[in-house]
């Protein structure tokens, strides 16, 4: 039998969130981020959020806007602009509490939460400053002797990254939350929705379940409706991050975004035009910016 209809809007997703929640955001760096939901959070009064992500502009925006007070990340980067300028400023001013994990350790933590385990053992982090500057990350000793040395090996116990809510962006979904990713990397969205109590999936297009797989194969059906609370149809919802093969990253817009970290005035101007507006106005302003750039090129 099909699942219930879970379609909703970005603002309805945000109405389900509470200040102080721990929110996981899918994608990777500046790739396939659920930006239309992030934009709805930016318009809200939510505060004190803990954001958990392989971070990109999602993290930078939530730091700059003041909605996030804590960031747990595998890194925060815009890909073509390696250092996320707003996250960087937040770290240097001390306005947020940060946990920066080894990239693989982050996956172990996410997987532990999805499997309802308190931690998963990993070598990643041993000997590094990760457990020294974040001393809540500790080690566990193997109960089994090493077959070669007989030693009971000490490993990092990557703590479970349990999420109140996960927000991910997929290419296709049906109304009940079965979702399909296209492109070449699922990132960790499928694990993230299971690491969370509740998960919301935005997607480029909502299709009848029987048509979900068109143009791809079973290995891309990675998210089940069982793990999804709500579905948002959001064509272009990952803008300005990359969402291949549907669309690439809007590099010109990303540069404009990065420039908004230059001064309070630059941020105020960016915020007025691209943050404190509804999605329709945002799109109109993005088109205006692109048209102005084209005019400038002539």
């Amino acid at each position: 039998m099909p699942g219930p209809d879970k379609r909703c809007t970005e603002d309805e997703v945000v109405a389900e969130l509470r200040s102080g929640m721990t929110i996981g955001i899918g994608g990777w760096a500046s790739r396939r981020k659920p930006m239309s939901i992030i934009r709805a959070i930016l318009r809200s009064d939510l505060t004190d959020l803990t954001v958990v992500a392989y971070g990109g502009p999602d993290v930078g925006l939530l730091c700059r806007s003041g909605h996030a007070s804590k960031v747990i990340s595998g890194f925060v980067s815009l890909d073509t602009i390696p250092l996320e300028p707003h996250y960087r400023a937040a770290r240097q001013s001390g306005s947020i509490w940060a946990e920066e994990l080894d990239e693989g350790m982050f996956l172990s933590g996410l997987q532990a939460a999805a499997w309802r385990l308190p931690f998963l053992p990993t070598r990643a982090g041993l000997g590094s400053d990760v457990p020294r500057v974040m001393p809540h990350i500790t080690t566990v000793r193997s109960p089994y002797p090493d077959p070669d040395t007989g030693e009971h090996e000490e490993l990092i116990a990557a703590p479970a990254l349990r999420l109140d809510v996960a927000l991910v962006h997929q290419h296709r979904a049906d109304a009940s939350g079965n979702a399909v990713w296209l492109g070449e990397d699922p990132y960790f969205d499928d694990i993230m929705v299971r690491a969370a109590e509740r998960s919301f999936v935005s997607c480029e297009k909502v299709l009848p379940t029987a048509e979900l797989g068109e143009g791809t194969d079973v290995t891309h059906h990675s998210i089940s409706r069982m793990d999804v609370t709500g579905v948002v149809e959001a064509p272009g919802g990952a803008h300005f991050t990359e969402c291949l093969p549907d669309y690439g990253r809007d590099e010109a817009f990303q540069r404009h975004y990065a420039g908004s970290a230059r001064s309070d005035e630059a941020w105020a101007e960016f915020s007025e035009r691209f943050v404190q507006v509804d999605e329709e106005t945002y799109r109109a302003h993005v088109r205006e910016l692109a048209a102005a750039a084209e005019e400038g090129d002539k």
Binding site: Q92, G94, E100, D102, R123, A124, S128, E184, Y187
Partner: protein, 264 residues
């Protein structure tokens, strides 16, 4: 005969870091490391696996600096390798990565995370990225295009990639997969050996393995913020030879390497 161009020497020195790796993933990060790694795969280390820079392991040696369309058209895919599979591969260990280093110390500890106190850094950099996991799981080398005492420091501000002192503290079982193979800079090549003639149990520290043509040993020592091991006879790094000359041109036809390391 005039000296070979510095960027070409660096590319060859980087390629040499992967010599002997056989059938494993050669995973250099950054333009010159990518050029050097691909040079090794195209010449003396033909069974190396490479990545397309994103989500696949490839069995051919394309040029660097390709557009997205060219990258997809030119690759010969051996295996799908999305990020989750890359973690699987590196935890399995059949990989040699060459990363950058904002700071590196005599034991090979590397910092790319932050300058100053990590808790509120003076300058936030990349974060730990994969450096802790890389260095504890498989061979790692570093590329430094701007050799100076600000990079080659007495002690790094944040240990991301772990050096030989940290590995030694962990003991032989935990550190069994740790190896910092080589540091290549714009001035020379460096490896890690235990000081003293007998070696013994001493912790390996950085040694000057060769200077690039036109660079003096004194110049390297002066640009290094800690005491390097300097052997009595320091060889000179070689330039491209034989098929390497043509392959370098094919792999980097646009001369990206000369932008990263200009001629002296």
């Amino acid at each position: 005969m005039s000296d070979p161009r510095r960027a070409d020497v660096c590319a060859v020195a980087i390629a040499e870091a992967f010599r002997g790796d056989g059938e494993s993933l050669c995973n250099p990060i950054g333009n010159l490391p990518l050029i050097g790694g691909r040079l090794a795969a195209a010449t003396f280390e033909p069974h190396l696996a490479l990545t397309d820079g994103f989500y696949t392991l490839i069995d051919n040696v394309p040029a660097v600096g390709l557009s997205e369309d060219e990258r997809q058209a030119q690759r010969v895919i051996g295996r799908w390798n999305p990020y989750r599979e890359m973690f699987g591969l590196l935890w399995h260990g059949r990989r040699h990565v060459m990363m950058g280093a904002t700071q590196v110390d005599r034991f090979g500890n590397q910092n790319i995370a932050a300058i100053g106190d990590w808790h509120q850094p003076r300058s936030q950099l990349l974060g730990f990225r994969g450096a802790p996991g890389n260095t504890i799981n498989h061979t790692t080398s570093y590329w430094v295009p701007n050799h100076s005492p600000k990079v080659f420091v007495e002690a790094v501000d944040v240990v991301c990639g772990i050096g030989y002192d940290r590995a030694a503290e962990l003991g032989p079982t935990s550190s069994r997969f740790h190896e910092i193979r080589r540091v290549v800079s714009n001035l020379g090549v460096f490896d890690f050996v235990a000081a003293g003639s007998d070696g013994g149990d001493a912790v390996p520290t950085m040694r000057l393995a060769s200077v690039h043509p036109g660079v003096s040993v004194d110049q390297v020592v002066e640009a290094t913020g800690f005491e390097l091991q300097v052997p009595e006879h320091v060889p000179t790094s070689r330039g491209p030879e034989g098929a390497e000359v043509e392959e370098l041109e094919r792999i980097d036809p646009g001369g990206l390497r000369f932008r990263e390391v200009p001629d002296e």
